[in-house]
Amino acid sequence: MSFANSTESNSTTLFTSASLILLFLTFLVAYLVWALSNMARNGVFSRRRRPERMEEAGDLSATSLGSHEVHVLAVDDSLVDRKVIEKLLKTTSCKVTAVDSGRRALQFLGLDEEKSSVGFDGLKVDLIITDYCMPGMTGYELLKKIKGSSTFREIPVVIMSSENVLARIDRCLEEGAEDFIVKPVKLADVKRLKDYMFGEDGILKQKGGFGKRKLQETCVDDPLSSSPSPSPLSDLSSTPSPTQTSTSSPSSPVSSLLLPSADSSPTCSPVRLDSPTRRLKMSNTDC
């Protein structure tokens, strides 16, 4: 082969190789851009999903899009309590909407008869946590409205109350509440709640009816367990039976308790073994 021929074929080879490399690089860049944008959409880089992204995705539950930030609607008439619960929830990486009444909660959900506005940014609510004692609509009434709605009854509802009344707890659980937390609410309560209700991906572990599930070991004699902080014993009305408190340590699940009533006939309630429900002695006080 002559030198000229060899040079020419060398140039052609070089040119072809360069073109192929360039083509390959172009495809590689295009693939990387596509892969990166998918990862960003799936929330790998940022825990916060922007609403417009969710709307674009078209699937507000984001089940198919990977990690999802749990959106909690917190309802409490007390400003102090709203601020605290909001911080507790945000610390456990939840998105929070806090409202001051059952009415506003229903308005946010779009369930209020008078105002049919949807939640302000259209975000799906994953959990509702509400105070029991509120003026106007109580947490119990709010619970009933939510469980009575075909659209929203699947949303788990947790009740908070400073009054630890067995009858109240039972009533709420029977109406479909997933759990009942005694105030003041602690970080351990919220963490445990989130852990047993939602997976790492922020998706509800089980569809509704936690509270109604019958457990094998629901009826347990109440063991005395030590409380990390002084219990509000003075809260209770005076009766002869000893007050028994169970509080949960952050690392271990709380056993559901049965408290002997005054006539010492134990009653069972379907409470999850790992729920943060804390029980005190029965009393008849209401809000």
Partner: protein, 151 residues
């Protein structure tokens, strides 16, 4: 005063507030929730508590000053005050509210008035102590120190 001394004062003062029952574990919870993203969280919540309580105590004074006392209303106010004091860990205020509610139930006017006085005292005490605590914190920060984490 140098930072170390200020920090020691802070630790000692905080410990005394817990020891004397002014504050309970819930206050520690609030302190634990405070972080860089919300460095004034405790002050903010406590300020809300002060505002809320001032209003409630005024409402209570007015309600108990009526010819025909509406005990349900009085009880509702005390319930609110009990809730918010419990939420920030103001233990003595909370306990005073518990006693107050019992007398509301009995509709005992004299006892309710005594309880209101007691609640006001406890509230003013804890308010003054918390303000002192926050001033100490501010002094530490101004002196370039960090707020010691309480166990």
């Amino acid at each position: 005063m140098e930072v170390g001394q200020l920090q020691k004062s802070f630790v000692d003062y905080t410990a005394s507030l817990f020891r004397e029952g002014f504050l309970d574990g819930q206050f520690s919870q609030l302190q634990q929730l405070q972080d860089e993203s919300n460095p004034d969280f405790v002050v903010e919540v406590v300020s809300l508590f002060f505002e809320d309580s001032d209003k409630l105590l005024n409402d209570l004074t007015r309600a108990l000053d009526q010819q025909n006392i509406d005990f349900k209303k009085v009880d509702a106010h005390v319930h609110q005050l009990k809730g918010s004091s419990s939420s920030i860990g103001a233990q003595r205020v909370k306990n005073a509210c518990v006693a107050f509610r019992n007398f509301c139930e009995e509709q005992n006017v004299e006892a309710c008035l005594r309880c209101l006085h007691q609640v006001k005292q406890e509230y003013l005490l804890v308010k003054s102590k918390l303000e002192t605590l926050f001033t100490l914190e501010q002094q530490i920060i101004t002196a370039g120190g960090a707020i010691p984490m309480m166990e």
